[in-house]
């Protein structure tokens, strides 16, 4: 059996490998190549070296603004989403009535598409701000907190489900042993519960960091970058550069490469740090 597996594994691997190369690897390498060219189509490209990268950082203030806005947004939403999701999970793993109902309710926003969510919250926020004579595009702060609120609303339920699964995995004897050992509820949370759910923290941090960093459709639908592109996040800025400025496709491509490196680097570092804290049973 094992011998046959060794003999035939390339055949089983081939379909996945071929599709991976065609739909991911080749476009990815092409993308990197194009970021070093001035181009209109893939065939019509002239090599320009690192000019696009220099342009992105020096001649386009929107890019740095979007980068800074995205970082701020990611920090705030990662913290708020995870804290709220964890607290909700703690609450909904108590033996209380209606927990199943509330779990479903909190998870539901996650089933709605980003664009739809963006428009719904655009209407909601504007109708409230309208009372005071403003709208969401009045100031970048409104857009920022609007986006934070929206993503919280969308992702808390999802992260909560992961935290719930992890909390339910903690053997009840551990809590009982800790109670007998004289631990207060807070010290049980700190010394038992949180260390035990570290694997879930790793996953949830990864998901929220990447989702926040790559946020696009919600951003497009809620603020569209207004006012004056101040609330453009990286993905939206790249989109606008690529499709909105003639001759800047290469710069858009260069920004996309930078974007990829940042996301990959941050998630890699985060995974390294948090998985070190995980408990191996």
């Amino acid at each position: 059996m094992e011998k046959n597996m060794k003999k035939y594994f390339p055949i089983f691997l081939l379909p996945t490998l071929v599709s991976f190369v065609i739909v991911f690897f080749i476009p990815f390498v092409m993308g990197i190549y194009l970021s070093f060219t001035r181009f209109t189509t893939v065939e019509n490209a002239t090599w320009v070296g690192i000019e696009n990268y220099i342009k992105a950082f020096t001649q386009d203030e929107n890019f740095l603004n979007a980068l800074w806005f995205t970082i701020k947004f990611t920090i705030v939403s990662v913290i708020t989403i995870n804290i709220c999701a964890f607290l909700l999970a703690l609450l909904l793993t108590r033996a209380l009535k209606g927990t199943a109902f509330f779990r479903t309710v909190f998870f539901m926003p996650n089933l709605i598409g980003g664009i739809v969510l963006g428009y719904i919250w655009n209407l909601l926020i504007n109708s409230i701000l309208g009372i005071f004579g403003y709208d969401i595009t009045y100031s970048a702060d409104y857009g920022f907190w609007g986006l934070v609120f929206l993503l919280n609303w969308q992702l808390i339920g999802y992260m909560m489900v992961i935290y719930i699964a992890s909390l339910q995995n903690i053997p009840s004897e551990l809590n009982e042993a800790a109670r007998i050992d004289g631990a207060t509820p807070f010290s049980i949370l700190r010394h038992i519960t949180i260390p035990m759910v570290m694997p879930a923290v790793t996953i949830c941090l990864f998901l929220t960091i990447t989702n926040s960093f790559k946020l696009f459709d919600q951003n497009l639908a809620l603020t569209g970058g207004a006012p004056a592109r101040e609330t453009s996040m990286l993905a939206l800025d790249i989109f606008n550069t690529f499709y909105g400025r003639i001759g800047w496709q290469g710069v858009g491509q260069a920004k996309a490469v930078v974007f990829f490196i940042i996301v990959a680097l941050i998630s890699f570092i985060q995974l390294k740090i948090t998985s070190r804290k995980e408990v191996e049973n």
Partner: protein, 364 residues
């Protein structure tokens, strides 16, 4: 140091199921008491109520002279060892043992001293820096004991602590826990479903069934004078033989009669049996009280041996007496083969007679 007193304890779960109806139990200071019974008999629930992990529906529980019904587990001055050990997987052995003391704000140097003392006593000093997953079952069990010891509690509660260990280790840990009890001089309450553990370790055994105490006595008394058929069948391995028979009165006394057999019952039973003349009762005979007859006397009977099991020092003889299956336990100093017939003798001095309906002891 503390005694434990359970008065009219009742436990009903939220779904309305009552597992313990009315339990009364006194445990003296420094006593080693074993709660034993089949699964679902309420022994673990009782222990968990003593620990404060389960609420008491009704009744009063005292530890020392203090009413503890509403006292939280941490304020009951108890320590508990769980079947699954319940070691904190993310802490090393030292931290596992120190956690309880740390929560009680004990100074670091005292914690250090106590942890090392306990670890030394339990032979786990060399593992103090290891995480529980790097330890074997027996070592984990010792850490769990150590974690309980360092706190110097008034009461030790042990919930089937040896069930996850292999047979050899279980025997070793059994004596270790007994030694520990001797050294620590504290009250031990120990839950098990294993009657060997119960018999070998406890000063006193409480046999439970369906939330009720069937008998509460010393191991010797439970074995030699079981108060009902449940205890008689539960304690002892192989279990006691039960033979349904009729009490017949003859001129020279009472006889137990079944099929073609008549067994003369000792005269000391006469008074008790007078009420049962011509009635059906249950005769209880321990396997070791059925001997091989040396010479074929009148009192002996023939037993067909279906299977002869050699255990080393003894033979377990599975056979038939009349149409009934019985087990005899005889020394293995002579060879006995399956599918043969042997002459056997019942030691009538060691008979137990039970009421057929109430299953309670009539006399022994």
């Amino acid at each position: 140091m503390a005694s434990i007193s359970l008065k009219n304890i009742k436990k009903t779960y939220e779904d309305g199921v009552t597992v313990i109806e009315d339990l009364n139990l006194e445990i003296k200071d420094k006593e080693f008491v074993i709660l034993v019974g089949p699964s679902g008999c309420g022994k673990s629930t009782t222990l968990r109520m003593i620990a404060g992990l389960e609420e008491i529906t009704d009744g009063e529980m005292y530890i020392g002279d203090k009413l503890v019904n509403d006292v939280s587990p941490k304020n009951r001055d108890i320590a508990m060892v769980f079947q699954s050990y319940a070691l904190y997987p993310h802490m090393n052995v030292y931290k596992n043992m120190a956690f309880g003391l740390k929560n009680r704000k004990v100074p670091k140097d005292i914690i250090d001293k106590k942890v090392h003392e306990a670890a030394k006593m339990l032979d786990i000093e060399q593992y103090l820096n290891r995480k529980p997953r790097a330890l074997s079952g027996g070592q984990r069990q010792r850490v769990a004991l150590g974690r309980a010891m360092v706190r110097e509690p008034a009461v030790f509660l042990l919930d089937e602590p040896l069930s996850n260990l292999d047979a050899k280790l279980r025997t070793e840990m059994r004596s270790r826990i007994s030694m520990l009890h001797k050294e620590l001089q504290t009250t031990f309450v120990y839950v098990t479903h294993d009657q060997t553990e119960a018999m070998t370790m406890g000063d006193r055994i409480v046999v439970m069934k369906d939330g009720k105490i069937m008998q509460n006595d010393t191991p010797q008394m439970l074995y030699n004078h079981p108060q009902n058929m449940f205890v008689a069948g539960f304690i002892g391995s192989p279990q006691m033989n039960f033979i349904y028979c009729k009490i017949v009165r003859n001129t020279d006394g009472y006889y137990a009669q079944f099929e073609n057999y008549n067994i003369k019952l000792p005269d000391r039973m006469n008074d008790a049996l007078s009420l049962y003349t011509d009635k059906e009762v249950v005769l209880g005979i321990r396997p070791e009280n059925i001997h091989l007859a040396k010479d074929t006397k009148k009192k002996s009977f023939e037993m067909y041996i279906d299977i002869a099991e050699m255990t080393g020092s003894d033979y377990y003889l599975y056979g038939k007496l009349g149409g009934k299956n019985i087990i005899a336990n005889v020394p293995s100093n002579m060879q006995i083969k399956s599918d043969t017939t042997c002459s056997m003798l019942i030691d009538t001095d060691r008979l137990h007679i039970f009421d057929k309906v109430s299953e309670n002891l009539i006399c022994d």
